[in-house]
């Protein structure tokens, strides 16, 4: 009796699985045949979810007669932990700016063969040799943006101009900060006129003291669902990335975004090839393909981030080029400071961060 029903349930689940395979398999059948006929190359891509236009990926697969395995991770540190612990078999990964310099120092990245990626020249000049990879030997920029203040115009009538506006007592309980120690402390450091890569204890103490006073006002720390919180209007003001602000704006037209006068951090996601990748050449072809002007335009229109490809401008839609959130970032790029790997300072930051979280 007991066994029967459980058995039936399991059988049922298996049936669903088989049906699912059937549905998915039907779509895959044509390419499966070609795999058996010719030695199809496989590109193992490890990146953020939904980070490429599916049409662009399909176009690449067609052009180079290969298959892309698109695996996903949710944050840089997980990427690093996985690559560091060994055993990862990826050809192309997408670390963010500071992670590139860390991986270079840990000898985890291959040097790029720039002759295979001629389209690299299409990248806008200020982003061609960023401080985290000055020679551009290890990474190629993919998306970039800046952190700024996002606010809801319905509740906040005065446009914020400074990081200190977050501390406004009128916004108590309506503030959201990113759930990232470097972002939050970087912001507090900038508020006091310091570098967001500072490891000076006095400067950090000052930043921490400021954050302690802000802590009771904070509704939540959130990196993953901060867009939803602003769309649903749970929060009125907070720190957010420019690309995310653009998304949020699409679903809630009350959203505004500014880069505070003290400056902020600029970040980028990049392409990089891990050491020991089996298909280095194919990976380089992929990067090059991504920077073809028409492809660039198609891709960035889909993912909604700033396009670093100069040559792609003519192919972009008017809407994209005049998106207020993305435009803000482009205009203020000089005010951005890249995050550096701070080595031992990381333990110090983690300590402050842990302490900040214990404040009720």
């Amino acid at each position: 009796m007991m066994k029967k029903s459980i058995g039936l349930t399991l059988v049922g689940l298996f049936t669903i699985a088989l049906l699912a395979m059937g549905c998915g398999g039907n779509a895959a059948k044509p390419s499966a045949n070609t795999t058996e006929k010719s030695e199809k190359q496989v590109l193992n891509l490890f990146s953020w979810a939904d980070n490429f236009s599916p049409e662009v990926l399909a176009a690449f697969e067609k052009k180079y007669n290969c298959k892309i395995n698109y695996d996903v991770f949710a944050n840089n540190e997980e990427l690093l932990a996985k690559i560091q612990a060994g055993g990862a078999q990826y050809d192309l990964i997408q670390p963010s700016d500071y992670m590139v310099s860390t991986m270079v120092k840990l000898n985890l990245l291959e040097k790029l063969d720039k002759t295979k990626i001629p389209n690299m020249k299409n990248i806008v000049k200020p982003l061609q040799a960023p401080s985290y990879d000055p020679t551009g030997d290890y990474s190629v920029i993919y998306t970039w943006g800046m952190t700024g203040i996002v606010y809801n115009k319905k509740y906040i009538t005065e446009t914020p101009t400074s990081w200190s506006d977050l501390w406004n007592p009128e916004y108590k309980g309506r503030v959201i900060l990113l759930n990232d120690s470097r972002e939050v402390f970087g912001m507090a450091l900038k508020k006091n006129g310091f570098s967001n890569n500072s490891t000076d204890k006095d400067q950090l103490d000052k930043a921490f003291a400021d954050l302690k006073t802000l802590a009771p006002s904070i509704l939540a720390y959130d990196t993953d669902t901060i867009k939803q919180k602003f769309i649903a209007e749970e929060a009125w003001i907070g720190t957010m990335w420019s690309g995310d602000a653009s998304f949020t704006y699409k679903d809630n037209k009350n959203i505004g975004f500014v880069i505070p006068k003290e400056g902020t951090l600029i970040w980028a996601d990049t392409f990089a090839i891990p050491k020991g990748a089996k298909n280095k050449e194919l990976a380089e072809k992929f990067i090059n393909f991504m920077y073809e002007p028409k492809i660039s335009a198609q891709n960035y229109e889909y993912i909604g981030y700033n396009d670093p490809n100069e040559k792609a401008k003519e192919f972009h839609s008017k809407d994209f080029l005049s998106d207020p959130m993305l435009k803000v970032a482009v205009d203020d790029v000089k005010q951005g400071e890249w995050l550096k790997d701070i080595g031992d300072g990381l333990t110090l930051y983690d300590r402050y961060w842990t302490e900040l979280k214990t404040i009720k």
Partner: protein, 285 residues
């Protein structure tokens, strides 16, 4: 004697290889140090364990244990009656009843948590309803605080309490209860002196599973608590990710495991004393 060893051998060998060996790695790393860029270098040091003794970390540990205990108590209070009810259903419906309880937990936990956010947030279901009814003027802060975290923990761990308890209740000999009522015992007394003690194995198993699982939780404090609390699950998570301090993270894990093990042993000793009493009563009945 030999049969016992034979039966337990496969599980033990499995655990020794797939758990024991990785654990040796963890223990080794807990005595190592961290290079400036987050690599592990094996020079023996006790610094990581010493660091745990700082008041900041002790406090986090105590908070976590307290939260876990509270979670266990609440899931017990909520779960026992449910398990009891399922065991009282007509036989044909008991096992579907169990599966019905389990189905929600086969659905991805993250989206269920986000569903709770939709229900509890200030523009969410509950607040909108209460505002419309006029029962409140301002939305209630139901989210991003300790109560929400507790709700999330209980929600996540209820089946681990219900299932073991059900398993114990289901095997009760109903003649014992009949005998008790024949002897004039009121229903609650019968429950207190007969039913409950005999279901202690299930209660113990469920409590331990819930307690241990809540110690390591980090998703609930992040999603439901707005990442505003530092529990040991979050702390350890951070060490392996953003802080890139694997040695400290490993040390914290070892300390957590050892202390929890001690608590469990004490708990089991207490349970066994109770069980001894219950078994005696059974023999007399």
């Amino acid at each position: 004697m030999r049969k016992g060893k034979l039966l337990v051998a496969p599980a033990i060998s499995w655990l020794i290889f797939f758990f024991g060996v990785p654990m040796l790695i963890v223990i080794a790393v807990s005595f190592a140090s961290r290079t400036p860029y987050g690599q592990v270098i094996f020079n023996f040091t006790l610094a990581n364990y010493q660091r745990f003794l700082e008041p900041l970390y002790i406090r986090i540990f105590v908070d976590t244990v307290f939260t876990a205990l509270l979670t266990t108590v609440i899931t017990f209070c909520l779960g026992y009656p449910l398990a009891y009810c399922i065991s009282k259903l007509p036989h044909k419906w008991q096992q579907p009843g169990l599966i019905l309880v389990m189905i929600p937990f086969w659905i991805n936990f993250l989206i269920r948590s986000y569903a709770w956010v939709v229900i509890l947030r200030s523009q969410g279901l509950i607040n909108t309803l209460l505002l419309k009814l006029g029962w409140i003027v301002q939305p209630l802060p139901l989210l991003y605080n300790d109560y929400a975290v507790m709700l999330g923990m209980v929600y996540a761990l209820l089946p681990f309490m219900v299932l073991p308890i059900y398993v114990s209740i289901e095997q009760l000999d109903h003649r014992l209860l009949e005998a008790a009522s024949d002897l004039g015992a009121k229903p609650f007394t019968a429950f207190r002196k007969v039913t409950f003690p005999l279901t202690l194995p299930g209660v113990a198993a469920g409590s331990i599973l819930v307690f241990i699982s809540s110690l390591g939780m980090f998703v609930v404090p992040d999603v439901m608590g707005g990442a505003k609390s530092a529990l040991i699950g979050n702390l350890i998570q951070n060490q392996f990710l953003s802080a890139r301090d694997w040695p400290f993270g490993s040390a914290l894990s070892i300390v957590l495991a050892v202390l929890a093990l001690v608590l469990i042993v004490l708990y089991y000793k207490a349970i066994q004393k109770q069980e001894g009493g219950a078994n005696n009563e059974e023999k007399l009945a």
